[in-house]
């Protein structure tokens, strides 16, 4: 966690292979990613990392199911498999009944669940969540965090970036970034769970 402007986003971009570090190396699953070509990193990104964004970034004219399927388009998953997997993952985040709804007809919490489902469907090694509850009220936020917690319990590495101590408090391990310096000392306000 960290306040705005502290370097959270830069860290997220580097961790998510969206950006390359100016110095140093980033090893993901044992591979030094800073030497990979852009296309390799794109492939790696699609396969190993799932993103959940504050702004959801769902395609407005596609149903929840189609939005989830989109994550498999760039992996050449056969269509039938895509459909089955998307339905399966949507059921896992508790949205089986809204699979064919458009994002505009979904609540904020439901939209974020669709986004989580989309991140999950590619079976990533790492789930990167950038302020996943930033646009949600506290009750909905809690339910989304419950979902993430459940995923973690099932063995997924979940990395949540937030400036909200309440959200940070639910993490297993809390890192603080301030003025670009990463630190594992936990501030007073946050008591790990």
């Amino acid at each position: 966690m960290g306040p705005s402007g502290s370097g959270k986003s830069s860290l997220l971009n580097i961790l998510g292979l969206l950006d390359t570090p100016t110095r140093g190396t980033y090893r993901l699953g044992g591979t030094d990613t800073s030497t990979l070509s852009e296309s390799r990193r794109a492939a790696l990104r699609g396969r190993e990392i799932g993103f959940v964004f504050q702004a959801f970034h769902l395609l407005p004219h596609r149903t929840a199911q189609e939005n989830v399927e989109l994550a498999m388009v760039y992996r050449r998953t056969p269509r039938r498999v895509r459909r089955a997997k998307a339905a399966e993952v949507l059921a896992r985040v508790g949205l089986a009944h809204r699979a064919h709804a458009l994002p505009t007809h979904l609540s904020g919490g439901e939209r974020q669940r669709v986004a989580v489902a989309r991140a999950l469907v590619a079976q990533p090694a790492l789930l990167l969540c950038d302020e996943p509850t930033g646009n949600l009220d506290s009750e909905t936020a809690a339910s989304v965090l419950d979902l993430l917690e459940g995923l973690h319990r099932d063995g997924m590495t979940v990395l949540v970036i937030t400036h909200d101590p309440q959200v940070a408090a639910r993490g297993r391990r809390v890192l603080t970034i301030r003025d670009g310096v990463l630190d594992e000392t936990v501030p007073e306000a946050v008591t790990p769970w």
């Binding site: 950006d19 852009e38 390799r40 396969r47 190993e48 702004a55 596609r62 989109l70 760039y74």
Partner: protein, 415 residues
């Protein structure tokens, strides 16, 4: 979960995009914003539409000219009296029985010799023996013609009749005039057997016509039989005589090749037959003349259409920066983004091309329906038009899709 590769490596397969997925993503991009897609492709619709309409209408018009051409011009042969090397000594190469000689040629329906008579200067044509200040029509040309000319030109008589072989062989001084000339001479009825005076020679008017099928300049002439004309004014002097031959459909070229020999077997070189022009050459000429300007207009329309697509696609790229970032985050490579936007604009262009083709065809058919023409459209044009739209869209999408591929996912996802 079973085959899951936890350890990424260099050997890992790059992200790929199947053609079918590329197409369905592009089509989705077009279909999901129908109003915008329609407006975007409007320029292409108009460009391709006018392209089709121009080609269709010029083709149709050329075909129309052809049919008119077939009916009259293609059945018309003119034989000119050149006189050959003896032009100075032989003022008139057509024999006296020229009409009958040509009638015997297969395929000829009528044939007649004519020439413009040279009158002495100041010779007036009057409707009374004494010069009246108002009745003189001095500039009216007088044409000497064998009876066959009237058959070939086929005038439509409002009163009276044409002169025939009898008048000619018996040296009858009769005349046939156009209705306009009749009106100027003050001749309203033939019941009183009016005469006109060419110089001081009276000719009885036996026919007034208001239309001819061939040689429309006859409408302004006074036509007199060949024999009295030759007797009074002599053989042709300024312009040499000509012969007008009307033939059956398709016989004109052959008649033209035989005419000189049939008329003057002793001196075929005195005469030169002019067959009708080749209808195919004529069609090309017409199509070329009319089409070019309008094709230029179509190109301008198409260019505007391309600018429209480029503009809207560029705006769409700006608007969909988030989507682009997301796709990149999901593993799309920059070139996948390029392809997607390029395919989208190409699909818009193709859509516009198809709509434009339909519109253009409808316009051509509508115009033809209104004018009772037969629409003529080259199937090649119809096939090429949507491709033209596709190419326009593809060209217009180059820059926007390049811009889309330059979008940095980092910034895009921050929005």
């Amino acid at each position: 979960m079973v085959n899951r590769r936890r350890v990424p490596g260099r050997a890992a397969p790059g992200s790929r995009l199947a053609l079918r997925d590329l197409l369905s993503e592009a089509v989705a991009g077009v279909v999901q914003r129908p109003a915008r897609s329609v407006l975007t492709s409007l320029g292409t619709v108009l460009g391709v539409g006018s392209f089709i309409a121009v080609l269709g209408l010029t083709g149709t018009a050329a075909a129309q000219i052809d049919t008119r051409f077939n009916r009259l011009t293609v059945t018309e042969v003119t034989v000119e009296d050149t006189g050959g090397q003896d032009a100075d000594r032989v003022p008139l190469s057509f024999p006296r029985d020229a009409d009958r000689r040509m009638d015997r040629v297969h395929g000829v329906t009528a044939a007649g010799v004519y020439w413009k008579v040279r009158l002495a200067p100041g010779t007036a044509i009057r409707s009374s023996p004494v010069a009246a200040p108002d009745g003189a029509v001095s500039r009216t040309p007088v044409v000497a013609a064998s009876p066959g000319l009237l058959d070939a030109a086929a005038p439509h008589f409002t009163q009276g009749r044409a002169f025939d072989a009898f008048h000619d062989t018996h040296d009858q001084r009769v005349a046939v005039i156009g209705s306009a000339t009749a009106a100027r001479l003050g001749i309203t009825t033939l019941r009183t057997q009016p005469a006109i005076f060419i110089g001081d020679t009276p000719f009885t008017v036996i026919g007034v016509f208001d239309d001819v099928r061939r040689k429309p300049d006859l409408l302004l002439d006074v036509i007199v039989p060949r024999t009295p004309a030759e007797r009074i004014w002599g053989p042709p002097q300024d312009e040499r005589a000509k012969m007008l031959i009307s033939t059956r459909l398709g016989a004109a070229p052959q008649v033209a090749s035989q005419a000189a020999l049939a008329l003057r077997p002793d001196h075929p070189d005195y005469l030169r037959a002019v067959p009708p022009p080749d209808p195919k050459a004529l069609r090309h000429a017409v199509g070329g003349d009319l089409g070019q300007l309008f094709l230029l207009l179509a190109v301008v329309c198409l260019f505007i259409g391309a600018v429209g697509i480029a503009n809207t696609t560029l705006v769409a790229v700006m608007e969909r920066v988030g989507e682009i970032g997301l796709r990149r985050a999901l593993g799309a490579r920059a070139r996948h983004i390029t392809w997607q936007f390029l395919t989208e604009s190409a699909a818009l262009g193709l859509l516009g091309g198809i709509a434009g083709t339909s519109l253009g065809t409808a316009v051509v058919v509508g115009v033809c329906l209104h004018n009772e023409w037969t629409p003529v459209l080259d199937p090649l044009t119809l096939g090429a038009a949507p491709v033209l739209g596709l190419a326009t869209g593809l060209l217009a999408g180059l820059y926007p899709s390049w811009r889309a591929s330059c979008v940095q996912p980092v910034e895009a996802l921050r929005r």
